[in-house]
């Protein structure tokens, strides 16, 4: 709608580079906003240059800046807040260059609009994920702020008939120092809208930052401590009914029959909706819906996967790795180097399926009418939600209205639209709006899971124990192949292999192969720390094994391979120093280290664990050193690392989804345990100062902690755990 109101005096700044390192085409338009103010809109093909073009999982930013006549600065953004602090960090970028106080910036959710907010290189995916919002916004949003500020300044200078150089911008005003005159941005907005867009603006250097790098308070939190924040699950459109559902317990099964006699007798139950592979109870409230669901007598046709078990899948993956895969990385000649190696080390690793278990269970509210459909949800993928609803309801895209809300945990789960399809399917049978809320059991048993993988590793060491050959072959699901098919090429995608092909170490001969093997019927999806969640566990465990084989200290061994990676070496040194690496620990305790480069961020972690005689593992302390380039909000960086580490400890100690007879065996937080406060370690985060562009923060802590724990367990017990989660029985000491 804002675009409709644009009076296009479009300037295509396809000229000289505006900013060093920012050379992509930038389409910038300027016009008068509905309220008579200045409107700048951005549509940028890519933020980080050519490298991004080759990488289809990076998402491109798009944004509006609107300055209203009343001085309000409104930023419409496609990124959604799910706890990662993006609603604070993104405004910081623009406010910095625009010279406004953070509190003067307001945010509006972007509507679903792939043309406007989608990445053209991705055929238009409007998504928040892969820890890239700040990375993607770093140049374009600061630049957008600078352009707006420059134009406002010009407008003021023109009005006063003075040299723009004698004016400066500050806290939402333009000042003319020699005369002391000042004008607010709101007063200048209409004039500024008539000016040409400058094709060159200067961005501040780090020394001039007023906001970036400060401990800015989160903007989204006050409503989250008093119960007024509205998540998708909290919406209450007039007349809304509440539904809950049972989906076929076996993936791919069908509903055979549902006897609803008893269910219909439950007070408050309004309707039973039968779908091909699910049944829903619609009621006045969730209590009645759940009671009604429990009263249904359901028969399922389990379908082709009725006998599927996790063991079958693991065995298929293991078999697959006996054959060559698509070559994801090939440096030097690892076969030749292996043949002449003094020592050879081999190992296999496994990681399980994992559920997201977001605290806000899956839910979606839908109102389907003949001529349109309305959706209320918290989603990471606005436009995909609209498309999924339109397709399911058989409506044109423009007849579907999507309202987005706060997200009670994303972690990748809300990059999917299966819950939207379900809600619309049910709503098609219901007169009026219906909120479909999944029980926790449905949420866990019908998640789309972090894939399980099987990895075969081998390395050749020279006489001094240093690696001369590195081979890594692994099999498992490609999420990209389903989620973004054009991103899967020649048997490879950039996500599944991240953390396996781009190691920080100097490895002269290296070969990485991937085999795509999809588990039958089991849907897989992105999960916090995506590809590295699996690969970093494997590679950082294996490098530890090489250090042990070489009888060398794990930190010293890694360090010797880092001469060409100064940023990696610096975080490793800092983590080791702060953790007191090498200092004595009590019996049964041990330290383990990990080092990774992922999401454009360098990170080293040292985990300190204790293993009891009965095999129980406790993570006592985690020390993390991070170089994520320029830090936008250091407190958010700390928070994301703390949270990411807790998320990863959950995976390492507890996380596993298993199948028996085609059914997921876990169902709630008793059988799918997540870390609690009494298990949470002390976490020290040390940030390396850097002027490099920002790296991602939302996920990096998660992948790095898992191998640090496994390596610490090895240090404490001498036992190498090559399969996650930790098997406590394997650590139990004989009586």
């Amino acid at each position: 709608m804002l675009l409709d109101s644009l009076i296009s005096t479009a300037a295509d700044s396809d000229g000289p580079s505006l900013v060093k390192g920012f050379s992509r085409r930038a389409f910038l338009q300027v016009g008068v906003a509905a309220g008579g103010g200045l409107l700048l809109s951005l549509s940028l093909p890519a933020a980080n240059g050519e490298a991004e073009a080759a990488d289809p999982v990076r998402f491109s930013p798009n944004a509006f800046i609107r300055i209203d006549g009343d001085g309000r600065v409104v930023l419409t953004m496609p990124y959604v807040e799910m706890g990662q602090g993006t609603y604070t960090a993104i405004p910081m970028l623009i406010a910095e260059e625009l010279e406004v106080e953070l509190k003067q910036v307001q945010l509006e959710h972007a509507p679903p609009d792939e043309k406007l907010y989608g990445n053209p290189l991705l055929a238009g995916v409007q998504a928040t994920g892969n820890s890239n919002a700040v990375r993607a916004s770093w140049q374009p949003l600061r630049q957008a702020g600078a352009i707006a500020r420059t134009m406002l300044l010009s407008a003021a200078a023109k009005r006063w008939n003075v040299d723009p150089a004698s004016c400066r911008a500050q806290s939402g005003e333009v000042l003319h120092a020699p005369t002391g005159r000042k004008l607010g941005y709101g007063e200048l907005a209409a004039d500024a809208a008539q000016l040409p867009v400058p094709d060159k603006v200067d961005l501040k250097g780090p020394a001039d930052f007023k906001l970036i790098g400060t401990l800015a308070k989160r903007l989204d939190t006050p409503a989250k401590v008093n119960g007024t924040a509205v998540y998708g699950i909290d919406v209450r459109p007039v007349g809304v009914k509440i539904a809950t559902l049972a989906q076929s317990p076996v993936f791919g099964g069908r509903l055979k029959s549902a006897d609803d006699t008893a269910a219909k007798a439950v007070k408050g139950v309004r309707q039973i909706v039968r779908l091909d592979d699910a049944v829903a109870v619609v009621a006045d409230h969730m209590g009645a819906a759940k009671k009604g669901l429990a009263a249904l007598v359901i028969e399922w046709d389990d379908g082709p996967h009725a006998k599927l078990s996790t063991e079958d899948i693991a065995s298929e993956l293991e078999q697959a790795t006996l054959n060559p895969g698509a070559v994801a990385q090939n440096i030097g000649d690892s076969d030749k180097a292996m043949a002449s190696a003094a020592t050879r080390v081999e190992a296999t690793y496994q990681v399980p399926f994992l559920a997201h278990a977001t605290m806000e269970p899956m839910n979606c509210t839908a109102h389907v009418r003949k001529d349109g459909c309305e959706i209320w949800i918290g989603t990471q993928v606005m436009a995909r939600v609209q498309a999924a609803a339109a397709k399911t309801a058989g409506l044109p895209l423009d007849k579907v209205v999507v309202h987005n809300h706060l997200i009670g945990g994303g972690f990748g789960r809300r990059l999917e639209t299966d819950g939207v399809v379900r809600a619309v399917q049910i709503a098609q049978h219901v007169d009026g709006p219906v909120k479909v809320v999944w029980t926790r059991e449905e949420d866990i048993q019908h998640d789309m899971y972090r894939p399980t993988f099987f990895d075969r590793m081998s390395a050749g060491l020279d006489a001094k124990g240093m690696p001369v050959a590195w081979n890594h072959r692994f099999a498992g699901s490609s999420v990209i192949a389903r989620w973004l098919p054009p991103g899967f090429n020649k048997g490879l995608d950039p996500d599944t292999t991240e953390g396996a092909i781009d190691l920080v170490y100097a490895l002269p001969n290296m070969r990485v192969e991937y085999l795509r093997v999809e588990p039958p019927g089991i849907p897989t999806a992105f999960w916090r720390s995506v590809g590295p969640s699996h690969n970093v566990f494997v590679t950082e465990s294996f490098i530890d094994e090489l250090a042990a084989a070489a009888k060398q200290d794990p930190v010293a061994y890694r360090r010797a391979l880092l001469d060409k990676a100064p940023r990696a070496k610096a975080v490793l040194d800092l983590a080791a120093e702060k953790a007191g690496w090498g200092q004595p620990l009590p019996q049964g305790a041990g330290r383990g280290v990990s080092l990774q480069f992922a999401f454009a961020t360098y990170m080293a972690q040292v985990a300190e664990v204790e293993v009891s005689k009965d095999g129980a593992v406790r993570v006592r302390r985690v020390v993390c050193a991070v170089d994520c380039g320029t830090v936008v909000n250091p407190d958010t960086v700390q928070a994301q690392i703390q949270g990411g580490i807790i998320f990863g400890i959950t995976a390492a100690l507890h996380g596993e989804i298993t199948l028996k007879d085609g059914r997921v065996e876990q169902s709630n937080f008793d059988t799918y345990q997540v870390l609690r406060i009494d298990e949470a370690p002390a976490i020290d985060v040390h940030i390396v100062e850097s002027a490099e562009p920002p790296g991602g923060m939302g996920e990096t802590g998660t992948s790095a902690i898992v191998p640090a724990i496994a390596n610490a367990i090895f240090a404490a017990t001498g036992k190498r755990l090559r399969r996650m989660p930790v098997d406590n029985s394997a650590l139990k000491q004989p009586a």
Binding site: R218, N226, I233, G287, P361, G643, N668, F669, I677, I683
Partner: protein, 156 residues
């Protein structure tokens, strides 16, 4: 059946089965959505409210078991001394991430502080280990409870 319960000082009458969990009465019947659904089995603490000041999982508390007890929810906890201190500490320490579990965390922490003005780490573990946070804000929850307790000690 018509049941009257007292929520945040107000008597409210609802017409639901007596075995309906309080959680759904609050959220779906009364429209007080600050109290969250997480598990339905008292495993996660997202639904925590106070019943006569005691932290209680509303997802397994049937509405007919309340009687004349007074229910306090996140919407009104700021009116209590402990609740206000906890909310302030939560903001000062930037505890919150996605925020979905934080209503329950704040209700558990407020009940702890009201009954134990100077909790030890072990007291905090005991009172808070029933509340899951998937974003992993535990380190800051611990700090914030300690800050709120200090504010208590200073009479603030």
């Amino acid at each position: 059946m018509a049941i009257t319960i007292k929520v945040n000082g107000v008597d409210l009458t609802v017409d639901v089965d007596g075995d309906t969990p309080l959680l759904w009465v609050l959220r779906d019947v009364l429209g007080m959505t600050g109290t969250k659904f997480g598990c339905g089995m008292a495993l996660c603490g997202a639904c925590t409210v106070h019943v006569d000041g005691v932290a209680t999982r509303s997802c397994i508390t049937t509405v007919d078991s309340i009687g004349t007890s007074e229910i306090t929810t996140i919407e009104a906890i700021g009116a209590t001394a402990a609740g206000a201190k906890i909310q302030k500490a939560w903001l000062d320490r930037e505890v919150v991430q996605c925020g979905y579990c934080q209503s329950g965390q704040i209700m558990s922490a407020s009940a702890l502080l009201a009954s134990n003005p100077h909790p030890t780490d072990s007291d905090i573990d005991d009172a808070m280990s029933g509340n899951i946070c998937r974003c992993g804000t535990y380190v800051r929850i611990r700090e914030a409870i300690k800050q709120a307790a200090q504010a208590d000690g200073q009479g603030g």
